[in-house]
Subunit: 320 residues, 2 copies
């Protein structure tokens, strides 16, 4: 069963009500030092403090908790090496249903442990998209579980949209709201909430230059898949989807690309100045401001810090 | 001019009023996962989010902003390689007076930069206590500045006491409150606030086993200086002072020692589970709970996370 309608504000409000108590209304933090460096007023929405360590818990909870009774008994399934795997396993565990997670054999141990902690049943496969899809297809046939795609699903998008909704409830008169873009679930949800709740606020997405499929799709006006992306922002390797792309094309104002150097520089700056741990994918937005391509002087800017799941044995600025 | 009286609750309340707006009332965070691991309910008071990155801003602001007019014009001075240096430079800068900071030549660049950012005038010396004291004496003579000791001063102690006061205002029915102990400024302040505001709460201090002068002083009943301490908790190398020791001896219930292994384990746990950056000295308290020496099952425990200033190039669990 797929939802066929782009989420309107009523659907986003329903999502917010549905996931209340299941996820955190995460804090919005500021840093005087970073404001001085960037010469703007930045409000960081800290989804690194979200349940399971990333915004993905919003969409996963919204989807799992809106499943009709007849699918509950077969559970849910997905392929993911990242934050969606943990978030879906956690949501299913809360709902008391099974979750089947296809993960590449080279997934970090910390992510495997997290999925297991939430009673997710893991099937390992080769680390290629083809192998992941084939293995998932097999699992779906064997179990009759419902596939929950990590971003190309309106229920997921409505769930991710609640992060921006919470920002607008807390911070007024924002000139700009920024989110990173991978598959586009967070970005399309953010764009929808902004259109409904703060239409005067510009939506700007940031993407690694080394994985710039959304940038090229947006400006060339057609969905271009990601080919051999190679970036430290491992949450942003995926391509836009058939549902996320049209929303982004219509409601996002700008997409900017960011060098690996500035992603790492921004991540270091947030760790050092704000004393919070964010993953590389979450640093791409501040990285975009460091690139100096945007006119942001004295602007009020919300940035969604997408997650904090990083292998603490592998810090990007430390060469082992 | 030295204050001669152990701070009573009125003096601690005055300190809280004086530093309001100059320092943060930092958040109290919890982690379900850590509660499950420790089998207790822990409330982390996050002084890593404090101005200048540590609780030291409380004592420094209280002291600098209570200075009488006649000493203002000569400024303040101290020797410190750590958080007190930054905190004092910042407080003096806010008060528009000069600060003279004696630092060992091997102090981390990040701390030197922080002092300079607050217009502190740095004098470098050899990295020995004797050299630091001699250099400071020289500076005091040359400048007529007022020495502000990092912990052995009742105004500093009253300032540090405000952290526990904020905890008791936010969290009720605490069985235990814990702080790390180095020179004893934070611990003695914490003990005083607890005696006045929550006398039924036990005060337990944690100290690295490799720098256990407070532990030995406390249980042997005499002030024993620290000799060649060697611990990763670089904020806890100092010895108790003539003012902090008697307060600790009278009002602290227990001091426990912690292995280097458990300090690092606790630090990693907080980084990974809570997504916040804390310095090694701030991990000694949770490390003490990991040692399993204390009877804490199902207890409600406040832990003061003392600071978050760490050289991010040197992560203890990563061998370069």
């Amino acid at each position: 069963m797929k939802v066929k309608k782009v989420p309107d504000i009523g659907i986003i409000r329903e999502a917010a009500a549905r996931i209340q108590g299941l996820v955190h209304n995460t804090p919005v933090l500021t840093s005087e030092t970073i404001n001085q460096i960037i010469k703007a007023k930045i409000f960081f929405k800290c989804e690194n403090f979200q349940k399971a360590g990333a915004f993905k818990s919003r969409g996963a909870c919204n989807t799992v908790f809106s499943l009709p009774d007849d699918v509950l008994k077969y559970g849910v399934a997905t392929h993911s090496s990242g934050n969606h795997a943990q978030a879906l396993a956690r949501a299913a565990n809360l709902r008391n249903i099974k979750s089947f997670i296809v993960m590449p054999g080279n997934a970090p141990q910390v992510k495997i442990n997290a999925v297991r902690q939430y009673n997710g049943e893991i099937t390992f496969c080769k680390p290629t998209l083809a192998a992941r899809e084939a293995t998932l297809k097999d699992i779906l046939q064997k179990t009759s579980a419902t596939e929950i795609h990590s971003y190309n699903d309106y229920r997921i998008i409505a769930g991710q949209a609640t992060a921006a909704k919470e920002i607008f409830e807390k911070v007024k008169d924002l000139d700009i709201i920024m989110a990173p873009v991978g598959g586009g679930g967070l970005l399309s949800g953010t764009a929808l909430s902004t259109r409904y709740l703060s239409p005067g606020t510009k939506v700007i997405a940031a993407e690694p230059a080394n994985a710039d499929d959304a940038y090229r799709s947006f400006y060339q006006g057609r969905l271009i898949p990601s080919v051999n992306p190679d970036t430290i922002a491992d949450g942003l390797l995926t391509s836009l989807g058939s549902l996320t792309y049209p929303i982004i094309r219509q409601f996002v104002d700008e997409i900017v690309t960011v060098s690996e150097e500035n992603i790492i520089k921004a991540m270091f700056m947030i760790w050092e100045r704000m004393k919070i741990i964010i993953e590389p994918s979450a640093a791409v937005t501040l990285g975009a401001l460091l690139e100096n391509k945007l006119n942001i002087k004295n602007k009020r800017i919300a940035i969604i810090i997408s997650g904090g799941n990083i292998d603490l044995q592998k810090i990007p600025w430390i060469n082992k």
